[in-house]
Symmetry: D2
Subunit: 475 residues, 4 copies
Amino acid sequence: MRKINEECGVFGIFAPEKADVAHLTYYGLFALQHRGQESAGIVVNDDGVFRVHKDDGLVNDVFTPRIMETLGEGNMALGHVRYGTTGSKGVVNAQPIVVRHIKGTMALAHNGNLVNSYELREALEEEGSIFHTTSDTEVISYMITKERINACSIEEAISRALKKIKGAYSLIVMSPQKMIAVRDPNGFHPLCYGQRADGAYVIASESCALDSVGAKLIRDVLPGEMLVFTKGGVLSVKDNCDAAKHAMCVFEYIYFARPDSVLDGYSVHEARRKAGEFLAEEYKVDADVVIGVPDSGSDAALGYAKRSGIPYGVGLIKNKYIGRTFIAPGQKSRENLVRIKLNAVPASVAGKRVIMVDDSIVRGTTSGPIVKLLRDAGAKEVHMMVAAPPFLNPCFYGTDIDSKENLIACKHTVREIADIIGVDSLGYLNPKYLPYLAGDGKKGFCTACFDGKYPTEVPSEIRKNKFESKITEKE
Amino acid sequence: MRKINEECGVFGIFAPEKADVAHLTYYGLFALQHRGQESAGIVVNDDGVFRVHKDDGLVNDVFTPRIMETLGEGNMALGHVRYGTTGSKGVVNAQPIVVRHIKGTMALAHNGNLVNSYELREALEEEGSIFHTTSDTEVISYMITKERINACSIEEAISRALKKIKGAYSLIVMSPQKMIAVRDPNGFHPLCYGQRADGAYVIASESCALDSVGAKLIRDVLPGEMLVFTKGGVLSVKDNCDAAKHAMCVFEYIYFARPDSVLDGYSVHEARRKAGEFLAEEYKVDADVVIGVPDSGSDAALGYAKRSGIPYGVGLIKNKYIGRTFIAPGQKSRENLVRIKLNAVPASVAGKRVIMVDDSIVRGTTSGPIVKLLRDAGAKEVHMMVAAPPFLNPCFYGTDIDSKENLIACKHTVREIADIIGVDSLGYLNPKYLPYLAGDGKKGFCTACFDGKYPTEVPSEIRKNKFESKITEKE
Amino acid sequence: MRKINEECGVFGIFAPEKADVAHLTYYGLFALQHRGQESAGIVVNDDGVFRVHKDDGLVNDVFTPRIMETLGEGNMALGHVRYGTTGSKGVVNAQPIVVRHIKGTMALAHNGNLVNSYELREALEEEGSIFHTTSDTEVISYMITKERINACSIEEAISRALKKIKGAYSLIVMSPQKMIAVRDPNGFHPLCYGQRADGAYVIASESCALDSVGAKLIRDVLPGEMLVFTKGGVLSVKDNCDAAKHAMCVFEYIYFARPDSVLDGYSVHEARRKAGEFLAEEYKVDADVVIGVPDSGSDAALGYAKRSGIPYGVGLIKNKYIGRTFIAPGQKSRENLVRIKLNAVPASVAGKRVIMVDDSIVRGTTSGPIVKLLRDAGAKEVHMMVAAPPFLNPCFYGTDIDSKENLIACKHTVREIADIIGVDSLGYLNPKYLPYLAGDGKKGFCTACFDGKYPTEVPSEIRKNKFESKITEKE
Amino acid sequence: MRKINEECGVFGIFAPEKADVAHLTYYGLFALQHRGQESAGIVVNDDGVFRVHKDDGLVNDVFTPRIMETLGEGNMALGHVRYGTTGSKGVVNAQPIVVRHIKGTMALAHNGNLVNSYELREALEEEGSIFHTTSDTEVISYMITKERINACSIEEAISRALKKIKGAYSLIVMSPQKMIAVRDPNGFHPLCYGQRADGAYVIASESCALDSVGAKLIRDVLPGEMLVFTKGGVLSVKDNCDAAKHAMCVFEYIYFARPDSVLDGYSVHEARRKAGEFLAEEYKVDADVVIGVPDSGSDAALGYAKRSGIPYGVGLIKNKYIGRTFIAPGQKSRENLVRIKLNAVPASVAGKRVIMVDDSIVRGTTSGPIVKLLRDAGAKEVHMMVAAPPFLNPCFYGTDIDSKENLIACKHTVREIADIIGVDSLGYLNPKYLPYLAGDGKKGFCTACFDGKYPTEVPSEIRKNKFESKITEKE
């Protein structure tokens, strides 16, 4: 059983009085669905009584009208969508998790990954703690609970616990009376909050979820900040803030987040356009049309087209029914799956020299068939522009970058990759441009997957392996 | 129970030998899913033995791996996706229909609508015929069966039957040994065929379905043509062809078909771009950005941007998980549904004069909330361009244009509509441009929903009402 | 595709005014579930508007609360449960069937099997009729519809049609205004009617269904009788009655019907007790305990015990969760399925000479493992008594007696069978007692499956084969 | 959220080598389905790797063929079926629970209820422990884990932990290499073990589960005994055994267990027969027939009939499709639910004086309608015999006896109850006979629900309330 690295979405709402918080959380999670399609969960807090439902599946499948009815109304709710890797399947790892402890009940929803969870877990186990899941969220629950014994409030317990926790966390904790949102000092993953016209506060991974429930964005939760929502209002605790450490994951802008979201003040759509412009700056290609690979390549393609002066066109159409739920129904006639998902628009590419822009290349296995689609539709030349640098390093902060042995850029030169996927030329975004995608270049970003510069210490392989081997240890 | 008007998709495959035709049909239907989301069906013909499965739902839901296994292999298969209106729900109306008659078994899949079905049905009933469905396809089955008694072949029976049938039909009939594709003399709806590298012939409503199974488009079935696929090859019968009558539904180009399809030789994507260009020609607006309403407004927006010189931008993002399966989970907090589906990109529209391009306006109820999204995101002005003329008349050929009382253009002037949806200006496509969307203006199109010029006689209201009242008649 | 031979259950309700007839039909079908577990259907007649739902599965699975809601209220309803053989799977064959014809709409639910359906179907096909199903019910629909053209009422049309139909039918027809129940002149299968305190008439295959909806049994529909239920009351038409032809299926008493039902005036439970008594009369065995094989062997075991004076005991327990829905989950560990369903009670059989009574032996494959259970639990001797004679002939009237090659009694002597299943002695019911199970021996029964004396002409093999071969004929 | 009192079934298998233990556990749980229908779970131990699936529902619904496949093979497996009360719904409380702790992984399946769980839980919480469920099983997991830190083996840890645990537990623990079965010193609930021909050891709540997988019963786990199954064989630890304390729940014999099970050496079927005989001894009634209320009243009815000399008859038939899954589909026509489940056999009761035997009376709400069924079917007199004494006290050991305010015997005299349910006379089993149902009267039983004599100290109301109130405490 391997440790779960996951990209997730969190959503919380704190209403001034009893309201339909379950449905609002549903809509918020639906807007964050792109951050996790493995499982979904909602906990409604009805004046101290917690009602929870979570299951594997998409938000719209997990929360049927009948289930929504059982959740009922409340004054607070907490929701989570999870992207899990193969090893972590099973509803047991679904979030939010709800635990009962010495001072009552607590629900937690977490996006991120701790770098010292092995050590923390080991220490907890030595005291006799038991774990139902393999998730960091359970470790965090324990850490908070241990501090809660002597702390005079839940926020004090969280504050103390976080001093011992290292890594990436955009976390929302719901107690019977309070909702607390915290973001790690590096601010690896986004977290923002806003307010609805009815006074309800809304906290979410991305601003698009605020929009979906009609909440106005107030601001992002600052890296290192803790916000405490109570009947009395919102309290900000900034003990842990240190602007020098800011290191938002740059891949949130490039791929994870929705283009209509604004993260730490910068538009995701704009960041992608700029990536396209930087590519056009660096790679001059003589071509007739610039097209994007749906969905996320289109923004960068528009930027490339604008800067290069080559017309933008729609060269590839994605079947809009494909979703994440598409199951290829059988083995016998393994039709080219790319052909099921995408199709070329001959009118846009036939007889033309095409610049195809995609967000990134991971394994390099899907780019080839896409290029073939374009050539079959009559493209004379295909040049590929990639709106991210080559992936070279693992991520320890909660995103599921493939292992080194699968990353094509770890094994091949750019020239070789161009040959493998069959393009006439290939250009990756120069890493030097990364700080300029969202900001003026002075803001810090985590770019470790591209350049190996980790903003924190990272788990030693020895400890990690020790932990993992224990899972299947024999008595 | 009202008569079903439906837009549908048909797909047939005729393989040289036993093959995995069920899966190929699955992929073909999946590519045609946009033409019908109500029900899906596949009939496999395994050397004269017909195995069928059909049910309400999307292709990917209806055809589970277990179901696909029961369909098995065969040398032919026929598939159908159906868009049904409220009154026609129920698996009984799902297609293809399979009937046993004097000379064996026959399966039919049909896209279109007959204009003389009431009369035909009445005559059949007077002879003692019984009907299990309310669909035209069952009427056609009877007409063919009656002729089959004395005809020397199934194709002769079809040919004779079609002489009595009036209206729109893109029809595929599968007999134990043959597959026959026919298109009505007006060619209201598209139908084309192609061939795979393995020799299998493929017939489909749109070329995108051919692409999805790796078949090369040979050509469209001609209006009035009958194609007979047998082991011996393909036979074309053109007794019924009359170029003077050509009247392809122009709304197939504007809205129904997929942009990557090529219908009767013209690219759907290009037709939409052209609509945008014609709009730019007619309406000069001083603006900063041109955006499309996803999905189908984007193509026309690109055309408008190109011709007008105003930059194209991405101003609205559609939640890609919305699908057709999205069920708003409850009534309590009827959040603005438009806000769940779409969101504005502030970076693209804030402080700008925006031209918003959409494919059409039917009831006019969704445009207003979309405009509000843009204004909330900071748009200074919003001008709306519609890539179709106003809807003014009902369709009798198989598309489900809303009834007159619901069509906003039947009740309001353009100025009034602009006020209702809250835009600074509003421009509809001038009907004079319709013949130029796909072709040089010499080809005939059906534009009846816009201008009331029906290419055939249409059902008299008296007969129609008489028929419908009978359904609930008392004995 | 083979012809469907099926045992089924029918249920109809005719209320004096709009009422919750769907739920009452649900309860009635639930009481008749033992007569058919393959599919279930209900048609509600709401003042001439027919709402229908039918699907494969058990009543409780097919009719979810949501589905029941869509059926709504009405003044009449018709229901059906079907037992289908492998070849007839598929919701297309589910009943009731609803057809639209020249004079309106009609729903039919049928239990039985026609002996001249091949001829009737052939004649209909020669006139151009098409068939959606392989069921006799569709043939009957056509026959009635053809007569309806010139008949002055639905009951006249039914009456005329039935003159041409031969075989077994317990049939309920629902028109917009009337409900008509008919039973074939031989009265092969049961059909009775009664009335609820609220005045609603209820028609059902067995009286247990009347009990379940609180209706008092009035009497059985007479063989050959037609009952017409209208707002004006109940009309009996007895043109077709002929007491000389009475031939109720004796196996209804032995196995099919529920023991709490009363058929044609005789208790099913009593008939089974009597079978046990007759066995005790004929076979004197020195033993310590008489046990029954659950469920239907217990009644006969009680009779045997009473007549023989040997104590009755509970020797076998059936797992009450086994249902018809039990699916053995995998192939790897094919545990003895009999052991999953049944278990011996050691206290009842250990060290004892056991008489085990079962209702019948068909293939003889399950009796052996049951005997082994008893021996493993310590039984010293096991003697088997069978409450029916040996099966030797096929049934043409709607019950699915296995084919001759599978009937153990067609291939082995009683002595051989005793050895095969491992009992110390084996006794079958002597056929001479059959007329005395339900009555004084003067009433006629169909005992063809035991003695080959068919009460009607039966289908010639030649015609039958001709028909079946046509299904897969090549054009 | 109230504390869960539950009756459950546990099943474990320890195979000498890799085998299809998942399917065997499936069959075992299916045999124990009557002990719990709320949820089901299986954990397969494949050489230290634990694969788990559990969900709400019946065994046959939870474990689909696809799920069984994912469980795969292993050398051990542990299973559980749970009967939960309304408050405890939710898959989070499903068992077995799997926890990771300092020395690896452990799975637990538990039947019973601790009487000091509040105190244990409180102490654990004070040390910072968190709880995901409200079940005692999680408390036990912690107790074992805490001891595991310093214990040299899992069995030592269990042994130490159990010294602190009070109440009822029939528990199976599975570690990577061992399976340990323990039963509390009172032996409140049954637990036995046996062996299959292939050498695999099987542990189960009842012997019927051993029968279902072909295992031969070796003996019951003794009250207070711990059995350790390892590759080396079976080790019995009897430190905790004290014959003086034996107090098997007598209601296991009367109602819970399956009649084909043998518990602590006594046949359940025989115990019920004897209850009937004791009733006949005490209550002489002049009557014509003795009938049982299915399912569990029949055994006692046979005993009554035998001792009294009045003939036994089948007077009530239960619809065998009712299962636990029956959902009454709607509210409109709340037909008498008893009539849906049961029906009278007129031939057995009409015109007769009937003695009706049932296993027990709890609320007294269903007996009345059953009596009415018999009277409607013509019974002249109805006398009711109850094979248990009146319920007067709550159970703290894991069975869900209704609360005092709902127990009819707490509020009414026997005479009043007879009037309420409409019988001519009513007799309860005299408590003095209880020790003789299973044994010679010298064996100890827990009869607390009848006589209030609790074999252990019981939870003080004060502590219990304190705990429960904390669940919804405000911070």
